[in-house]
């Protein structure tokens, strides 16, 4: 069957099971949008307000569903507007296929209108990218893009398609969906060595990262924790990989991890890092990180081994397969003293307090949100203080219930991601936790929410400052609050929300928290809703380990008078 290039693109998306795409039309993708018009009963397209929002939406869709996200943008600025979104997905290993239009082949390289070398630009932030210069190669390129995005360590792939290629015709034969490339078999020596280390450990400690979620290995992780009889931490990306209401869970590890987790790190004799890349935000000073312990590192990507932290034993492979294999080798271990010391110990975790004028704390709001949603909501976040609070105070029960830009730390990520998460999970409550700084970056996507009836809850924790930067300025820059005080903005969130068709509430008093959240949750069944939470500007994210310092004795209080 002869089809146009643009029809082939849509057919291939359908082949791969992509029934929802996010994007923004433009000159170079007119043919693709004409095909989307034709196929509109088979494939859903969500138009955002900005290509960046579309890319974050595709990313949020992928993170929350496990399926590959798809975003379409036009050439030139449309393509460059995807760059932050693609880099965000790349840093967090999210499977994403970005399709960009480009000028026709004959105009490439001539500085034509809306021409940009997007494959050149995105080379360092994609797993791979393509420019398709023959319509005969188009179908297989799209298929390969999906396969690459989903194989091994997942990630974004970009396919750049010049306009004349979308117009030209080629023979098309439908094919079954691409399967991820098969992985090399597990190394039995590595499995045995890891199992033996676990069997011989006296004080084991399990640390799970985003790889556990990517591989769908939460059940295997739980089994490992039980067999090993060890406390468990998750990284920021690993939130939800392990049920946080379980007694073994001791909180996040790293810069804003719990005091308990830092103690466990420094007192364990075996540190089991699973599906993690030992980010600098976790390890602090790598020369002392876990030095008294033996470290096992389990990961799908061998390039992560000994990259940031020197480890004792590596185990390469898909986390789910590796954990199953290790579990099969393990007999039940028992470490009652070690577990009692960690799980039952009181390590003096900090508690947030507000002021007389602004008594509401993020902790109180998020914990109430947890109660009212039974921990079953999908929480997306922007970046900064509110992101950390969302990670710290909501208890994630399931993988894919926490969506955050961990690696790139992209302010403006959360709202777009929330749209994608809601489109992918229409029956779930989706809440974006934003600070007022991040909110202002991509607030345009509230329009997308109301226009398409994407019924998310946007919670803007408003302290009128760029709180995380302010926190660092307080601690390390002599309280020079350079450009981080946003008092001059005077935003009326209620009017703003109304203008965009989003009903908005304000929480200013402690007693308003529960009823307002309840109201918002009710409204979110039929419409998007926003809540402005007014908090004091000097509530800090604690505990805290300063960057590059050893993960020992975290800061648990900051003297505001000092």
């Amino acid at each position: 069957m002869k089809l146009s290039g643009s029809d082939i693109i849509v057919e291939c998306l359908l082949e791969q099971g992509a029934d929802t795409v996010f994007g923004y039309p433009g000159g170079a993708v007119l043919n693709i949008y004409d095909s989307l018009y034709k196929y509109s009963d088979k494939i859903k397209h969500v138009i955002t307000c900005h290509e960046q929002g579309a890319c974050h939406a595709a990313d949020g869709y992928a993170r929350s569903t496990g399926r590959t996200g798809v975003v379409i943008a036009t050439s030139g600025p449309g393509a460059t507007n995807l760059v932050t979104g693609i880099a965000t997905a790349y840093m967090d290993s999210v499977p994403l296929v970005a399709i960009t239009g480009n000028v026709s082949c004959g105009l490439l390289g001539l500085d034509s209108f809306q021409e940009v070398d997007i494959t050149g630009i995105t080379m360092p932030i994609t797993k791979h990218n393509f420019i398709v210069k023959s319509v005969d190669e188009l179908a297989d390129t799209i298929r390969l893009a999906f396969q690459i995005a989903n194989s091994g360590r997942k990630g974004p792939v970009l396919v750049d398609v010049p306009k004349d290629i979308t117009q030209a015709f080629a023979e098309y034969t439908a094919q079954p969906a691409q399967q991820p490339e098969e992985l090399a078999p597990l190394n039995a020596d590595e499995i045995n060595a890891a199992a033996e280390l676990i069997a011989n450990a006296k004080k084991p400690y399990i640390y799970a990262g985003g790889g556990v979620i990517a591989s769908g290995a939460s059940d295997e992780l739980k089994k490992l924790a039980e067999l090993t009889d060890a406390p468990v931490s998750c990284s920021l990306m690993g939130q939800g990989a392990y049920n946080e209401t379980d007694r073994r869970y001791i909180g996040m590890l790293g810069m804003h991890g719990t005091v308990k987790a830092a103690y466990a790190l420094n007192n364990c004799d075996l540190f089991i890092g699973i599906g993690t890349r030992f980010s600098d935000r976790v390890t602090g000073d790598t020369s002392v990180f876990g030095k008294q312990a033996k470290i096992i590192h389990i990961d799908i990507d061998p390039a992560e081994f000994n990259k940031n932290v020197e480890v004792f034993q590596t185990v390469n492979g898909d986390v789910k397969q590796v954990l199953s294999a290790i579990n099969a080798k393990l007999t039940q271990q028992s470490h009652p003293e070690w577990c009692a010391e960690i799980l039952d110990g009181d390590f003096g975790e900090p508690v947030q307090t507000g002021t007389k004028e602004l008594p509401v704390t993020p902790e109180a709001v998020i914990e109430e949100l947890d109660r009212q949603t039974n921990g079953e909501a999908i929480i997306t976040t922007e970046v900064g203080q509110t992101q950390m609070w969302a990670a710290q105070y909501y208890q994630y029960r399931h993988p894919r219930s926490f969506v955050t830009s961990g690696g790139l730390g992209t302010m403006g990520f959360g709202l777009g991601a929330a749209l994608g998460a809601k489109v992918g999970n229409p029956d779930k409550t989706v809440v974006n936790m934003a600070g007022d700084g991040s909110f202002a970056m991509n607030l345009n996507e509230l329009i997308t929410a109301s226009a398409h009836g994407i019924n998310i809850i946007e919670i803007v924790v408003n302290n009128n400052v760029l709180g995380m930067v302010r926190q660092w300025q307080r601690l390390f820059y002599n309280k020079h609050f350079s450009q981080t005080t946003l008092d001059a903005r005077h935003i009326d969130y209620t009017k703003l929300g109304e203008a965009f068709g989003v009903q908005t509430f304000v929480i200013e008093k402690t007693e308003e928290i529960a009823p307002t959240l309840a109201k918002a949750l009710e409204i979110s069944k039929t419409a998007p809703v926003m809540i402005e939470v007014r908090i004091d500007r000097d509530i800090n994210v604690l505990p805290m380990i300063p960057a590059g310092k050893p993960v020992v004795d975290p800061i648990t209080s900051i003297d505001l008078e000092a």
């Binding site: 080379m123 360092p124 797993k127 791979h128 420019i131 690459i148 360590r153 061998p302």
Partner: protein, 156 residues
């Protein structure tokens, strides 16, 4: 800092050299030399890359390279035939000619172009041999030169 020779097979596609070199640049790996050309298999090129670093960096380079879609094989060469090719124009005046030819003969270099004041020579050999060839020519004045960078194949 030690030097290592990597032999990297890549799919001979548009942009593959950029993919490899940009990986080195963004991960702060240093390239001493890089040579790229086709192999006996159509659509497959071999890059011979000389890198400097410690064994940990070397392991990183290998693993990161293997993650590139177009990279098919990465070998760290230990027992290999390593050769480099040089074309050099040396000499400032007719008086230099005799000395230059003497050095060329010593190294079995070929003279490929003779101008009034200078001679162009070519030589293939181990990199160290090329180094000493250059240092002996230096007193006569090197007008311009080009080195191919190392090409290498492992011994069986």
């Amino acid at each position: 800092m030690q030097e290592y020779v990597l032999s990297v097979k890549v799919a001979n596609k548009e942009g593959v050299l950029l993919r490899v070199s940009s990986l080195f640049s963004r991960r702060c790996f240093s390239i001493k030399s890089l040579n790229a050309a086709e192999t006996e298999v159509p659509n497959v090129s071999r890059l011979t890359i000389v890198v400097s670093g410690d064994i940990k960096v070397l392991e990183q380079i290998k693993n990161q390279l293997m993650k590139l879609h177009d990279v098919q094989e990465v070998k760290i060469l230990t027992d290999a035939v390593c050769r480099e090719h040089i074309i050099v124009r040396a000499g400032r005046s007719v008086e230099d000619r005799h000395g230059i030819i003497e050095i060329a003969n010593l190294f079995r270099a070929k003279s490929v172009d003779i101008a009034e004041d200078s001679i162009m020579l070519e030589l293939t050999g181990k990199p160290e041999k090329i180094d000493s060839f250059i240092s002996l020519l230096k007193p006569f004045g090197i007008v311009k030169m080009v080195r191919s960078g190392i090409t290498a194949l492992e011994r069986e």
